[in-house]
Symmetry: C2
Subunit: 189 residues, 2 copies
């Protein structure tokens, strides 16, 4: 399956490009250079850029969900789960990247509709996992917060995405870590 392998490598390179430069900030020529093939070859695997973009989000979301499932299997408490959740973001930022979907959220107005829908699914899944985790933590008394867990979840996602974006502009991962840790500390009972 040399074909499937090439498709994966294309996705790997495109993913990095979107996370660093945005969907409108890279071209098939960039991927071709990096993979040492011609642009035409890329179109064999992904006829249109919109399709490549949709696949990118699907794969990113799947990997993200797998990471969340791994956290749940880890069996720690709510706080340690949230720490692990933040660690995913931190690892991305250390790699000089933005969250794929955070990046696409900025470019939302210019994206083809299938990409928009897929991107929102990513945020919906994040809200869902965080809501469950937060509510469980509140039930066990490990966490303390008022109001609906969904609102705390959205606050967390918004903060992580925004702080990540700004921290990257300064090249300072610590800037992100400081606010993320503070946000989690505020949830401790």
């Amino acid at each position: 399956m040399a074909g499937a392998d090439t498709s994966q490598r294309i996705l790997d390179i495109a993913e990095r490009l979107v996370q660093t430069r945005g969907f409108n900030g890279f071209s098939y020529a960039d991927i071709a250079r990096s993979l040492r093939v011609t642009k035409a070859s890329l179109h064999y695997h992904f006829p249109a850029k919109a399709g490549l973009g949709k696949r990118l989000i699907e794969r990113y979301e799947q990997n993200f969900l797998n990471a969340l499932a791994a956290i749940d299997r880890g069996g720690g408490g709510a706080r340690s789960k949230l720490d692990a959740y933040v660690a995913i973001y931190t690892a991305v930022l250390r790699n000089d990247r933005m969250c794929l979907c955070g990046m696409l959220a900025a470019e939302f107005a210019t994206l083809p509709k299938p990409m928009r829908e897929e991107m929102r699914r990513f945020f919906d899944e994040n809200d869902r996992w965080l809501t469950v985790t937060l509510e469980h933590g509140r039930t066990t008394g490990e966490l303390e917060f008022s109001g609906p867990a969904l609102q705390v979840a959205r606050t967390l996602v918004g903060l992580l995405e925004g702080a990540m974006m700004i921290a990257r502009s300064y090249g300072e991962v610590g800037r992100f870590q400081a606010v993320a840790e503070r946000a989690l500390a505020d949830l401790a009972a």
Copy 2:
């Protein structure tokens, strides 16, 4: 001064385009169409797109600082100042726009250096004003939070920018308002 007026109208249109589509998501042709002039005319006022971009940030930052000064002149307490600060963001989002600099933060890697520096200045000024406001509120006992005010300031900016970006992708201003109000409520003594 029809010339200066034209320059301002160009900036107005370009500003809207950057806030909705991003700096890499619009072209001189878009401005020309909207202003009903030719692309060549635009280059008389702004020879290069990078220069136009830098001017955009400078003007946006100046308007923002003026708004902050107006809030300070209003003479309310720390909490009402923070409410007014959030209201600036809400107004932008109601207009289906992102914060200009939040948008540029996403595109950071593709921006010319002068735009990067100007953009960071915007965030620095926001940090500064919020830090002063937060510290004053803590002194008077109106606000309550632990740790350096600068960290709370950066948490707020990160949250507002991130939540704004995501809320815009859903076309739901209320999504932004809910998390913003919650964040401010957490600061009340």
